[in-house]
Symmetry: D2
Subunit: 345 residues, 4 copies
């Protein structure tokens, strides 16, 4: 069976997913929709697909699955529409910036029995997957302490931060998901500190550009996250998991691995300077995993609930900064009227 | 302009080039030929190309360039035919195992004014290119001594070795080309030692599985090459260039870069175990460079003459092993009736 | 001038300091005292010194300085006695486990105008000193975030933990001092989490074996500390300082730096397995620094106040674990009647 | 038993050995001799030894062993004198620059049944010893190919080169000995190339500053050596041994191991810039091994014959450069009238 795709949103990340879909022998890109007709038609032409409206894709009998790459504030609505239309859904993170809206959306998906995968691309990075595998194989014994260092090469424009929900919801959320992915146990408390060291304008917009977090679990595991919006040496993405029998670490990646030695010492080039080049392979593997799950009708992972929990952790972090104390995650998720959204896990 | 391609040979390396051609927005794969009809049709179908015979491709007005991936003993003939047919030619190395046959072939290409690029893929590896760039930028001053370590994960079947021309012509030849590429000066003498340490059958077939070489240039630069048909830890491919102001080295590549620490120490995974995964990016860049050169009608590099010289160096190495002395490269190339083949350089 | 030394305590760490004193051309070891006569006489004999009682050393006119390596609960009393006796004092950390006792002791030293250096040996490690120098030279711009990972090869006996004041006072205290040393700004808040993952007996003794901390400063800098009493791969001691213009990190040290490659990958040996071999050079440099300071009559660093503040940070950490909130360091140090102890800084 | 030492030569290397002797609890430095009285008395005073003449040391009943650190041209004579005087002898390399003189000297030592250890300090480097141990433990299977890169930070004065016997006898000789040490089989042929790339004055003095060598053994093992008198990044000393089951490598050593990351990339400091700091530990272990051998009356290693063979390999290298061919080592050693010097091995 070939999975037939509609792509919603032909921007930067839409192009990445279009390439992943068309490179996969089990998939076909049938249609592209975008608010900008030229963006849609350029991408459709490149890959021999058609331009269609969202409504046409929704109604199309020749489309099995959609990839949602539209602006964040449209995600939840589109997920609900396409769940009702019976399409399998891959949606870029986040589902929404509001936990209650996410919960409502997931109820719709749940009611329709639909497939929803959320785009935490880092779970598909080959190096982080190798960390996960090493843990699963018992190579480090029981997981005890995780250290995540995650720094962007530079701060985004303040306008972006205003829309993104701030550092915890747009940046740390990846690390929060990764911590959950590797801890093998739900996070119980979140403690966070934020400060403004990089760009005063970020502070004026009410956000932080430097953050440190400690997550704890009920059994006493710890995860530490260190974030900065600035790293002169490139896109710094390191994970280390310390366990009872050993430790496993994923090193930083650089586009070119040479070393130049001279009187100043030994110098290796900077890291990747952009998430798209750093995570090229992760994006390809992510769509492959989605195609596999649609084909095999198996549950999607990371699921909508994974998206919800990561958002709740980000909210807990923000609350912790404001209140100067450890926040029980249940303070955020406890407000959920219906815990059934977790049932699918 | 789009460069329209015919692919000759749909085997392992043909598939790699087919993917590179179809991924390039400036190129189109029009036809595939192979002695095995099913191999040709499978590959053609996957990329929306036609199956054609070699004769049809030769005569086709809708084909600008060919990629020759057929068995080695057909290369020289095909190059001559397609040069006469006015097609730009990319040919997998070697042109032929016999220096005189290569010279004759290059004369034909030269006479037709054709474009011929020879597949020394390693020149396009991003890491080795970065080494070359560092030299070109003057970061290490004058090149003085090059150290190349090149080891295969395992020995090929003896049958392959019988056809391949032996370790110097099938394996060392890549390192000889790389040494020339980086020395920036022609090799003057070749001294080589060969022994059989890995597989007695290789010795019985008259070849070696372990080799050490020293190349010298007229100005006194040295290059050292260390080859083995066995490396339990993967495909070992290292280059280091020592210069008057510093040194630059390209490190080994591994598919996954994690590190596991425990009581045994700190362990990183083995290297790539296959040239195709090690040089994935090099193959893609190689075809891109060929397309650029066809499009811009600029001289191909590495050229047919580069292929000829690398072969002559391999022949010199073999002669050195047999005679136990340094061989002047001019002893091999001096027999050329017509030095004009070097004019294009 | 030669600095003439009395050594109080001929145990494990006493031997280390005896070697450092006798290796230094500016110093001489005159006398050794120990509650166990044989320990004192063995060490004295080895280095041509005399065995004397503490009282004799106190009264000796041929002794300028003492090194205190006796059990912790004797430190404060001995410091006071030798300060009154006009000897320069090097004391192993901690001065005492009780902040108020430390303050009282420092007042005596202050009143006598004496020289007191506290043994935070890691400040003298050549690698950490190079980190400090890189910061001082402006190589990374303004310090923003510090990450310290500090893990012991194995947990000490529970008896030791009962006497030592627990993980924060015997182990984390080194990292707390290092954070202060590198932050270049006093710590404002301490948040800590502790759990028992390694040895239940430690938990039963009321202590933790795994701890994570975040320190913040008034200007918004963060330091993260990750501690464990277990590391199968050796004595894990890493520091990384992230700044506005770059980052500097001190790598782990191992006694032997070879790498073995085979089918399992590339393996380097484990780290040092003991603080004495890891910090051999630091111990030697530490005593040299003390000798320099005695000779030049310059202020000792790290000072008694440095010892006091590190202890206060450890106390704040413990309070934070118990109360689940960020502790203002002034909550601990604010109780000090007389802030004048800080004047010497 | 305590080994009582006389030290001949109180220069740079004499001081290193004096420290090693006095630090060893099994040894005592009794006397120091030097042509410059002040050099002798300064060193003797520092370590509580006496100044004596060479004749007095020769005749002394309270001296068991001597360390010869005098100029090279006195070594062979002194070895003979002290062998006749019944002292155990540690002599800095080389015994002499002339193979025949060395052979004559060793016959005297042999006739007296004396103990003679030659100072190939690198055999005692902990990292190279770990390489040797890994081989001995079978971790890499059978040794097949050795790669040694050995580069000095800068060229010595031409005057030194004139006295030293040239690059092969003063610099490469260490690598030749190391190759023998690790090959586990005698070298059969030596092929060498030399050129002048660093300092023309070296060429004018008839020597080379850049050299590449290939050694082969009868069973087909290869060792490659790459030497330069220039390395802007410090004292480059690397060894890699490739075997049938894997590979082991000793990495370069640097005094400080930090890494600074910024927009230029990741930079580690240069290597040691001097053999004495690079091989500090090796010098200490070397003297310990000599003391052990004197104490236990076991054969010294490296022996006088090891010194002889290394010199013969250096001579073979020089001959190879001059004649442009592989030199059988037996061409050099075959001239030995009496092979019995090898019997002690």
């Amino acid at each position: 069976m070939t999975v037939r795709f509609g792509l919603l949103g032909a921007g930067r990340i839409g192009k990445v997913h279009a390439k992943a879909v068309t490179s996969n022998p089990l998939a076909r890109l049938v249609a592209v929709a975008d608010a900008f007709p030229k963006a849609a038609s350029d991408l459709a032409t490149q890959y021999g697909a058609e331009v269609r409206s969202i409504e046409e894709i929704e109604a199309a009998s020749d489309i099995d699955a959609v990839v949602i790459c539209t602006p964040t504030d449209t995600h939840a609505d589109l997920i609900e529409r396409f769940a009702r239309a019976g399409k399998a859904i891959f949606c870029e993170k986040p589902i929404d910036l509001d936990v209650e809206r996410v919960k409502a959306c997931l109820k719709v998906v749940d009611a329709e029995g639909g497939t929803l995968m959320v785009g935490f691309n880092r779970r598909f990075d080959p190096h982080f997957q190798a960390v996960k595998s090493a843990i699963a194989e018992g190579q480090i014994g029981d997981v005890e302490m995780i250290t995540i260092v995650s720094r962007d090469p530079g701060a985004p424009p303040v306008d972006y931060i205003k829309r993104s929900g701030g550092i915890f919801r747009d940046m740390t959320i990846h690390d929060l998901d990764m911590a959950r992915f590797l801890l093998g146990e739900e996070v119980d408390t979140v403690t966070a500190f934020g400060s403004v060291l990089v760009d005063k304008a970020i502070g004026e917009a009410g956000d932080y550009d430097s953050a440190s977090l400690i997550l704890t679990t009920a059994s006493g595991k710890h995860a530490t996250i260190s974030n900065s919006r600035r790293a002169t040496y490139g896109y710094d993405q390191r994970i280390e998991v310390h366990g009872s029998k050993g430790s496993v670490a994923a090193e930083n990646q650089r586009p070119v691995s040479i070393e130049i030695a001279n009187g100043n010492g030994y110098t290796r080039p900077p890291l990747h300077d952009f998430f798209m080049t750093r995570y090229t392979e992760a994006y390809a593997r992510e769509i492959s995993a989605f195609i596999d799950c649609v084909e095999s009708k198996s549950p999607a992972s990371p699921s909508g609930v994974d998206g919800l929990i990561a958002l709740a952790l980000a909210d807990a972090a923000l609350k912790s900064v404001k209140e100067g104390r450890a926040i029980k995650v249940s303070e955020i998720t406890g407000a959920m009227a219906d815990k059934s959204v977790f049932q699918g896990r």
